[in-house]
């Protein structure tokens, strides 16, 4: 057990024992090698389930949102004197904390509803990178030993370095440390030295238009429209998503190139200034669709045009919810 894990467990135990929170949302060891699952701890006897390691992948902020929203719904018809409060604690690294900030800015719940157990984060193992390294073979056993990962497949055992399978968004992350927290389970760490965070966008933008279109279409054709990407995304919390609306029907239900593209384009545009580049949408996708390249472009525009970074500062207004007369609008009138 590492010291961060130990501190998470101690804090979770204290919060539950002192009845400061009703549930602690964190990660537990999964049933498959190098996997974890989100876990929901309600009693301090169970805090030893909580883990922290490079297999902790999902941004947990969406679970905070649904726990608090469901609770609010459940209290709607309760007499005022019988209403109960619900406080949720969550294990949050940088990107998760930024998503929580977005929720707070968008008035989804109150700061008092939330206890943030902050963790410094060095990134997680990208399932697509790992899959490519082992050429699509099943990882039969896997363990992490410092900076190395030992994996066993049907072709034998190999050792990989952690960094070569760390997700791209993590390698370029400027927010390894939570932007807000109530407790820190570990010292803040320095960010990775990435030469250019937006190289992926610039390289793609430099390609001829036809190549960009081909890449985009090919990625969208892989999509099976399960909406796992939307469902894990903390910024996709609408009660009824446009995808499920039938009057009007914004996007057809069939899996075909145009409806797939419409779905993804419409979802992505909701993410301007709201995507924290946690990589969760890519990580959950069973078909390995590359959504990040396009979302990162929105991130870049957010920074270049509005000097804003999604969820980085609680008291900074977000571009989608603010209007200024001198707002950049070149992308409307002179699209490239």
């Amino acid at each position: 057990m590492n010291s961060i894990e130990e501190k998470i467990r101690e804090e979770a135990k204290r919060l539950l024992d002192e009845k400061k929170v009703d549930v602690v949302i964190g990660y537990e060891t999964g049933t498959l090698p190098l996997q974890t699952a989100p876990c929901f701890i309600t009693s301090s006897d169970e805090v030893d389930k909580l883990v922290w390691n490079p297999c902790c992948k999902q941004n947990l902020a969406i679970y905070v949102h649904s726990a608090l929203t469901q609770h609010r719904e459940s209290q709607k018809r309760v007499k005022p004197e019988d209403k109960k409060a619900k406080i949720v604690a969550v294990v949050a690294r940088g990107c998760t904390s930024r998503s929580l900030v977005i929720h707070l800015q968008e008035k989804q719940y109150n700061r008092e509803d939330l206890v943030i157990i902050g963790v410094p984060c060095q990134g997680y193992i990208d399932k697509n990178k790992l899959e490519a390294k082992v050429d699509g073979l099943e990882v039969i056993t896997g363990s992490i030993d410092g900076d190395a990962i030992k994996v066993e497949t049907s072709k034998g055992k190999t050792e990989l370095s952690l960094i070569e399978v760390t997700a791209d968004n993590c390698l370029e992350c400027r927010f390894c440390n939570p932007v807000i927290h109530d407790f820190m389970a570990g010292e803040a760490i320095p960010v990775y030295e990435s030469d250019d965070e937006f190289a992926v966008v610039d390289e793609f933008a430099a390609l001829p238009e036809a190549d960009r279109w081909d890449y985009f279409s090919a990625e969208m054709n892989k999509c099976m429209r399960c909406y796992a990407c939307r469902n894990i995304c903390p910024s996709c919390y609408c009660k009824v998503c446009f995808v499920e609306q039938s009057q009007p029907e914004w996007v057809g239900a069939g899996v075909n190139p145009s409806d797939n593209q419409v779905f993804q384009i419409m979802r992505m545009f909701h993410m301007a200034g709201r995507c924290v580049d946690c990589g969760s949408c890519v990580e959950v996708c069973a078909e390995g669709v590359d959504l990040r390249k396009f979302l990162k472009k929105l991130d870049k525009d957010d920074l270049d045009l509005y000097e804003h970074r999604a969820g980085a500062e609680l008291d900074k207004e977000a571009p989608l919810s603010t209007f200024r007369e001198n707002d950049a609008e070149s992308f409307i009138f002179e699209p490239k």
Binding site: P38, G136, S154, M224, C226, E244, A253
Partner: protein
């Protein structure tokens, strides 16, 4: 039934030859993922596959299917049946678990009283060539717990089993025998080959590492529709339906019309009990209001309702849902945990 032998190296070309004559739906590797797809001209199937991401059910029960076209006219609605007719097809490289899935899907789509013409037509026109598992391809495979077998493929038209230098090719049905010519030079299988097959098949069974008490939990399920256990499995679930979409036995669908002006099409698309709108009623009421009720449905349908209706478990143990669930919800663990409550 005829049993023949071919050299291992010859199989790829045989499939290519078949594909020159009829559409062949077979495993293809793209990047590091394997999918069932129609082979392009001159394309060979990927033979060294474990199993595919998507289930071969897509061939008979596609994710999106046009059922009919309609036009609004002054005289009322004119309906035109979807005119796509299917030539004879070959489904190559189906693992035994997935072959079993067709038997289960037949129970739903091909009944005496209700028969689904879209499914049945494609099914009847397709010859299924199964590829036995010499070794279980994944550590998550649990076919033997749900009535399957890694090396038997009841329901296939041809079964191919890997021996040492050869493949043993068994033509199991008249449909399968029709393809014999396309296999070229075949040697008759001798006793030794059949014995070797038996030996390897026993080894494959012994190599299955995952076991679940799939039939044993039925009595518990019969009487525990309400139980605190159901509060413990769904919290991490994203309701993404990846488990249903990739499952070879899931068969729920939705039907809707998509119209443009006076013309429209009636579409059938996959659906999943993991989605909130799956059971949403027009009034706004939802009898399965949360993911708890939805996960209970998924489990009950596979291990109880289907057993009540058709006397079979609606899971073939392929492990796709286990491997592809983005939050590692593991149906094997859930079944095992239920058995502990018994």
């Amino acid at each position: 039934m005829e049993a023949k032998l071919i050299k291992k190296a010859a199989l790829g070309d045989i499939v290519k030859k078949i594909a020159g004559q009829k559409p062949v739906y077979a495993p293809v590797k793209e990047g590091s993922k394997v999918h069932f797809k129609f082979l392009a001209k001159g394309e060979s199937p990927f033979l060294a596959y474990a199993n595919s991401v998507n289930a071969p059910k897509n061939l008979f029960f596609p994710q999106t299917e046009t059922l009919m076209h309609y036009t609004k006219t002054a005289r009322g609605n004119e309906l035109v049946e979807e005119s796509e007719t299917f030539s004879e097809m070959v489904l190559f490289g189906v693992r035994p678990c997935d072959v079993r899935s067709f038997k289960l899907l037949d129970m739903v789509f091909d009944q005496k009283q209700y028969s689904d013409p879209y499914y049945v037509e494609k099914r009847e026109r397709t010859t299924i060539i199964a590829l036995a598992c010499r070794q279980p391809p994944f550590s998550t495979c649990f076919c033997t717990s749900v009535g399957g077998h890694p090396a038997q493929a009841d329901g296939a038209d041809i079964l191919i089993s890997e021996l040492d230098d050869d493949y043993l090719v068994e033509f199991l049905s008249p449909k399968g025998e029709k393809l014999i010519k396309l296999f070229g030079d075949l040697r008759a299988a001798d006793e030794a080959a059949l014995n070797r097959k038996k030996e390897l098949s026993d080894e494959a069974v012994a190599a299955i590492k995952s076991h679940i008490p799939a039939t044993e939990i039925k009595t518990w399920l019969d009487s525990n529709f309400e139980h605190p256990f159901w509060d413990s499995i769904h919290q991490g679930c994203l309701a993404c339906g990846t488990c249903s979409y990739l499952c070879p036995t899931c068969h729920c669908f939705d039907i809707r019309d998509e119209a443009q002006g006076d013309d429209g099409i009636r579409l059938r698309t996959w659906d999943s009990c993991m989605y909130s709108i799956y059971s949403q009623e027009t009034s706004g009421h939802n009898p399965r209001p949360g993911q708890k009720q939805r996960w209970r449905q998924r489990l009950m349908h596979k291990f109880k309702y289907f057993v009540d209706n058709y006397d079979a478990i609606s899971c073939v143990g392929c492990g796709r849902c286990v491997m592809s669930c983005p939050v590692n919800t593991d149906i094997r663990k859930i079944v095992n945990d239920i058995a502990k409550l018994n």
